[in-house]
């Protein structure tokens, strides 16, 4: 017998009963705790994985800078989440934003709570890993030219002013939750949100100086594949852990996370083969990410065959968006918009189509609930506009203090040397020790 009641409940509180997330103490299930511990570790690993996915795609002289844009979020965003972010996102507050009741983890203890049968503190950490990676995702649009100090400031403010409220809207009992929009693991909160910021940041920074004039090629495709492989692995925690219990819905979300990217990979390979005569490795890595993004909002709401369909369908818009983008003047350098934006939008809309009470807790278009697609679309549009708009404001403000873009000459030199005073790959030849007497 499937524990349908519990599953339903878990599903429900996930997207529509968020006010219970807060303080009420409760029992702890060791099994759910074990799964949430693992899931949190898996999601944390996604940020180093992203560093490799992105880092392999840039030129060698910018590899460290690109990786550091992810790694710095592990510290900075982690600390900010503890200080303010968690409370702003999951504090009771109002329908737009949480409050400061849990700032600096006030009242966040080891008791179980409305979020599930495991320590409240662990829920905070699990959500913190989402906060971290969402910030890091944006970096794909600004690599090879954004000044590192400006980037650091940007993700700090963006996290608190954009991510926290949006997470509150969707998962923290805010107005999107009230609409019954479906976002299992962050199609809107994570992917569309980051992609909107990416679009605005790429437009404001302008294209890299060599963009469109020279070939800017990946310096290490194996790193891209390593990143994609580890991202997939970590994403099992991202989606599977978003069931917030080791139950059937976790199993469903997990399996869908395995199947959808598989379907995307196959379709992408076919498109690649038909159009270029080759199945590319970079394309395969990209396909995996697109499939993962697309299934994210749907993972616990749709059946496995729907997951395969979602993965397959999501291939097309992202594939052609990348193809167009690479030949356009829009230097979203590592295609955050095409992969996470378009992938996230496709996934969110298809969640509204394929959601099924035979599997999860909600109905979509195919079960006659056409409205759901509209709700999904609305939530995406609002998140996109909010994130894009605030990104514009934040970046302009920072630009008053620190120029967000490095100088042309520095760009030619490479970001690693200019921003970090080091190189990714050195031999030590021609390097002379400097003695400092301080």
């Amino acid at each position: 017998m499937i524990r349908r009641g519990v599953v339903l409940l878990a599903g429900l509180c996930l997207y529509s009963v968020p006010t219970v997330y807060a303080q009420d103490a409760g029992a702890i299930s060791a099994a759910d705790t074990a799964w949430m511990l693992v899931s949190t570790a898996l999601v944390l690993l996604m940020t180093p994985a992203l560093a490799f996915f992105y880092g392999g795609l840039v030129r060698a002289k910018n590899a460290l800078n690109t990786m550091m844009m992810s790694f710095v979020a592990l510290g900075l965003s982690g600390v900010l989440w503890v200080a303010l972010g968690y409370s702003l996102a999951f504090g009771e507050g109002n329908s737009f934003i949480g409050d400061l009741s849990m700032a600096f983890l006030s009242g966040v203890g080891l008791e179980g709570g409305g979020h599930g049968a495991y320590p409240h503190l662990l829920f905070m950490a699990f959500q913190g890993t989402f906060f971290i990676i969402t910030a890091a995702l944006i970096s794909g649009a600004v690599v090879e030219r954004m000044r590192f100090s400006a980037y650091v400031l940007f993700i700090a403010f963006w996290g608190l002013l954009v991510y926290a409220p949006v997470a509150h809207w969707v998962w923290g009992g805010g107005w999107i939750a009230d609409l019954d929009a479906l976002d299992f693991a962050g199609g809107a909160v994570v992917h569309v949100n980051a992609a909107a910021a990416a679009v605005v940041a790429a437009l404001m920074l302008k294209p890299r100086k060599d963009y469109g004039r020279q070939a800017l090629l990946p310096h290490n495709v194996p790193f891209v594949l390593l990143g994609a492989g580890l991202l997939w692995f970590g994403w099992f925690g991202f989606n599977g852990g978003s069931a917030l219990a080791a139950d059937g819905i976790a199993g469903l979300a997990f399996v869908n996370t395995m199947l959808a990217p598989g379907a995307t990979l196959v379709l992408w390979a076919i498109l690649d083969y038909v159009r270029n005569g080759h199945v590319t490795a970079v394309g395969t890595a990209t396909a995996i990410v697109v499939g993962l993004v697309a299934i994210t909002p749907a993972a616990g709401f749709v059946g496995p065959l729907s997951a395969v369909l979602i993965g397959a369908i999501a291939t097309f818009p992202s594939y052609f968006a990348i193809d167009w983008r690479a030949r356009s003047g829009f230097d979203d350098s590592l295609d955050v918009f095409a992969a996470h934006g378009i992938g996230g939008i496709t996934g969110a809309l298809l969640t509204g189509v394929f959601a099924s009470t035979a599997w999860g807790s909600a109905s979509g278009l195919i079960e006659g609930n056409a409205m759901q697609v509209g709700i999904q679309a609305l939530s995406i549009v609002v998140v996109f506009i909010y994130s894009g708009g605030l990104t514009f404001v934040i970046l302009n403000t920072i630009n008053l203090v620190i120029p967000i873009r490095v100088e042309r000459k520095e760009e030619a030199f490479g970001m690693d040397v200019v921003n970090h005073g080091e190189q990714g790959y050195t031999t030590g030849e021609g390097a002379v020790l400097v003695r400092i007497d301080d």
Binding site: G430, V432, L433
Partner: protein, 117 residues
């Protein structure tokens, strides 16, 4: 026959190649090198170890040409490689005694005339 050795910035390589192709210089060999010249030094730090990098990444072109083409090639390189900042590089022209094309065994001028491919 002459050998042109041109040491240029890596980021200028593509424009130099284009400029050479434009004047029909099509046999070119490229070597990744590092150079020391008048450029400002770079300090890097690795876990407390501070180092001055005396060498900057450059690229060296080696081109075998018969005399009449040398002037045009040098001119093309200088124009395409110049940024005006210290570090643009040097061109050396060396005498060649003999040239062979391996595929055919042809010698000298014939050896460096590109085939129609």
């Amino acid at each position: 026959m002459k050998l042109i050795k041109a040491i240029i910035r890596r980021e200028q390589l593509n424009s130099v190649l284009k400029a050479l192709f434009a004047i029909d210089v099509k046999g070119i060999t490229v070597v990744d090198v590092r150079g020391h010249g008048g450029e400002t030094e770079r300090i890097e730090t690795y876990r407390g170890t501070r180092v001055k990098m005396e060498l900057a990444d450059k690229v060296m072109l080696e081109i075998g040409l018969s005399e009449p083409f040398v002037g045009a090639a040098v001119k093309a390189i200088i124009e395409a490689a110049r940024t005006g900042e210290v570090g643009d590089g040097k061109i050396f022209v060396l005498p060649i005694d003999k040239v062979y094309r391996i595929r055919t065994g042809e010698e000298d001028r014939a050896a460096v005339t590109p085939v129609e491919s």
